[in-house]
């Protein structure tokens, strides 16, 4: 539906990729790990190796969760656009087809300590 307006009404997104000086945004969420109140936002170069993002800044942020130390990244189940997806840690964000403002999710079956605590 269009915005009701007196003349043609065109908006411009404020979060276009060109505003990030060669970087892009990526969102990552650890499903069922609600100690983290919302998905993490990263601002990274598309040439960055996905594995470097996962083992670097993402793993650092995950530390407060009791499951963080037990993660086996080779057994993690990933979702992209809500569908199962297999990442390649050795390739870049771009080569993995991860676009600007992409939401990645991952699950760690059997490893949901705080969810199962009650």
């Amino acid at each position: 539906m269009a915005v009701a307006a007196l003349k043609e009404y065109v908006g411009v997104s404020r979060d276009r990729v060109e505003n990030y000086h060669g970087k892009q945004l990526v969102y990552v969420a650890w499903d069922y790990h609600m100690l983290f109140a919302a998905p993490f936002m990263f601002c990274v170069e598309p040439q960055m190796k996905l594995g470097d993002l996962v083992r670097g800044p993402l793993s650092a942020l995950m530390q407060p969760d009791p499951d963080a130390a037990s993660i086996d990244w080779s057994k993690v189940e990933w979702l992209k656009l809500g569908k199962p997806w297999t990442p390649d840690f050795e390739r870049s964000i771009e080569e993995n087809g991860i676009g600007h403002k992409e939401q990645l999710r991952f699950r760690t079956p059997g490893l949901n300590t705080l969810r199962d605590a009650a």
């Binding site: 915005v3 065109v10 404020r14 969420a29 109140a37 919302a38």
Partner: protein
């Protein structure tokens, strides 16, 4: 020659006519369309502006007199509060977090409502409507001023009050109510009235005022209580105006009904999201609780809302679209949001804290089906982290909702253990949402919402470029003073010391 004029006092009805309806005129050298260019494009049809009823029949001269009287009383009490160190009568300085949020997020909303009603008063052709909007515009700016004055006393003693206007513009959580009002003010005059006059002032106002004003009374804050009393009679008038407005729209033309319904759906959900902040205050921030958010929702949401929907059903209006999803969220939202505020407290100009054992017992009593099952384990773990000397901070900046601008902390309506992910692609660009409600609002007017200034993505753009220290300077947040855990804060130390001086002989 001296003219003898008989001083005849006008009757109430006559006086109302002279002071309102008689102020209008028929334009002779401009068309009505040129004078009121914004009254048609939203598709609302009005056949007879004279049918507008002013339930209060208040005239401007009586308005000034009445408000001046109220404000004299208000300032007398606020002065007495300041002179008698009224701030030391608070239950606890943790209460101040609720006030800081109020000043940074809600008082600027009063000012925005002032601008909106001033504009609506200019854009509506009917005299009765113009006068009613003018009075509400003046009410709203008075409310902004009196709130700021009432809370300025606290600024002399406590952190986090000093830069509310910068923070209104720049800090992340204030962008929620700010975008709410900007959305309404950039809509047409009729949508503005349904958004602010009806959905906000009528449907949701009690849910906003009860926690703040009763919360103030329960927690010994006489300054804010006084403001509440002063504003109460205005609020009653605003509620009546909002209801009158929506009935007028619905009675004027059946074609107005679907337009009003769509606005009602939209503004109920937008208002409900703003109330996420309030739920957290009620359940976590008031040291002496008034009632739980769930209890307030039952009383003011369900009971009043159902009566209203029954009343409007005869026009063909049904309950707002997000009503069922709202009900499913009630037992979760305050907990989900407080967990966020705590872990991001390095970026808030107020303090948060881990609930005490007593408070957790209260929460599990008030939320028997959700607190112990979902939220207590998280707080217990956070407590453990704090005890181990590694207090929990989440420096991962959150994903925000493109519509309501809150961090996407909310869960799937059917699964409270899973964050709700919603995504839309529009003109090749991705947009994220916290809920179906916010996604629908975007899809109805995408060109409007793609322009949203989202504070988190903006941190990575010019001029901040991801530098958290530079961001703190820019939002006028003093690290180590205004932000962080209440435990160990200046506010805690000072309040305890001053109260000790006031209540003992040390």
């Amino acid at each position: 020659m001296e003219m003898k004029v008989a001083k005849k006092k006008l009757g109430l009805k006559e006086r109302y006519r002279v002071m309102t309806r008689d102020l209008g005129w028929e334009p002779s050298y401009h068309t009505k369309e040129a004078l009121y260019p914004y009254v048609g494009y939203e598709g609302i049809k009005i056949h007879d502006w004279e049918k507008w009823e002013d339930p209060f029949r208040l005239t401007m001269d009586a308005y000034w007199k009445y408000q001046a009287e109220k404000e004299r009383k208000f300032y007398a009490i606020v002065d007495a509060h300041a002179q008698n160190n009224g701030h030391l009568n608070l239950t606890d300085a943790r209460y101040l977090s609720a006030l800081k949020i109020f000043l940074q997020a809600i008082s600027p909303g009063e000012y925005a409502a002032h601008k909106g009603f001033a504009r609506a008063g200019r854009e509506f052709p009917g005299v009765g409507t113009q006068v009613a909007c003018q009075m509400q515009a003046i009410d709203e700016i008075r409310h902004a001023q009196t709130q700021i004055h009432a809370l300025s006393n606290y600024n002399k003693y406590y952190d986090g009050f000093h830069a509310f206007s910068d923070q209104r513009d720049r800090i992340w959580y204030t962008s929620v109510p700010r975008s709410f009002f900007d959305d309404a003010m950039s809509a047409g005059p009729f949508e503005f009235m349904v958004a602010i006059g009806f959905s906000f002032e009528y449907v949701l106002t009690n849910l906003l005022f009860v926690p703040f004003m009763s919360g103030a009374a329960y927690n010994g804050d006489m300054a804010t209580v006084t403001f509440g009393f002063s504003a109460q009679s205005d609020e009653a008038r605003h509620m009546t105006l909002g209801l009158e407005c929506i009935k007028f729209l619905l009675e004027q033309d059946p074609a107005n009904v679907p337009i009003v319904q769509a606005w009602f759906d939209k503004w109920f959900w937008r208002g409900f999201r703003v109330l996420g902040l309030v739920s957290t205050m009620m359940d976590y921030m008031l040291p002496k609780r008034v009632m739980s958010w769930r209890e307030a929702w039952n009383m003011y949401g369900i009971e009043n809302g159902t009566a209203l929907f029954n009343d409007l059903a005869r026009y063909g209006i049904r309950p707002p679209k997000g009503w069922d999803d709202a009900e499913k969220a009630i037992d979760h939202m305050s907990h989900q949001f407080m967990l966020g505020l705590y872990q991001w407290s390095f970026g808030t100009s107020f303090h948060s804290w881990i609930p005490s054992d007593d408070e957790m017992a209260w929460l599990s009593k008030k939320y028997p089906t959700t607190f112990d099952k979902y939220y207590r384990p998280r707080w217990d773990h956070i407590k453990k982290l704090a005890a181990a000397g590694t207090p929990y901070k989440n420096y991962g900046l959150p994903k925000l909702c493109q519509t309501c601008q809150l961090p996407t902390v909310f869960t799937e309506p059917e699964d409270p253990t899973l964050i709700c992910h919603r995504e839309v692609e529009y003109k090749g660009e991705r947009y994220h949402f916290c809920s179906d409600g916010c996604q629908h609002i975007f899809e109805n007017e995408p060109e409007k919402y793609i322009q949203a200034w989202l504070p988190m993505p903006q941190i990575h753009q010019d001029p901040i470029r991801g530098d958290l220290g530079a961001w703190m300077d820019w939002v006028n947040l003093k690290d180590g003073q205004d932000n962080g855990d209440y435990v160990g804060s200046n506010d805690q130390r000072n309040f305890d010391a001053w109260r000790g001086l006031a209540t003992s002989n040390e």
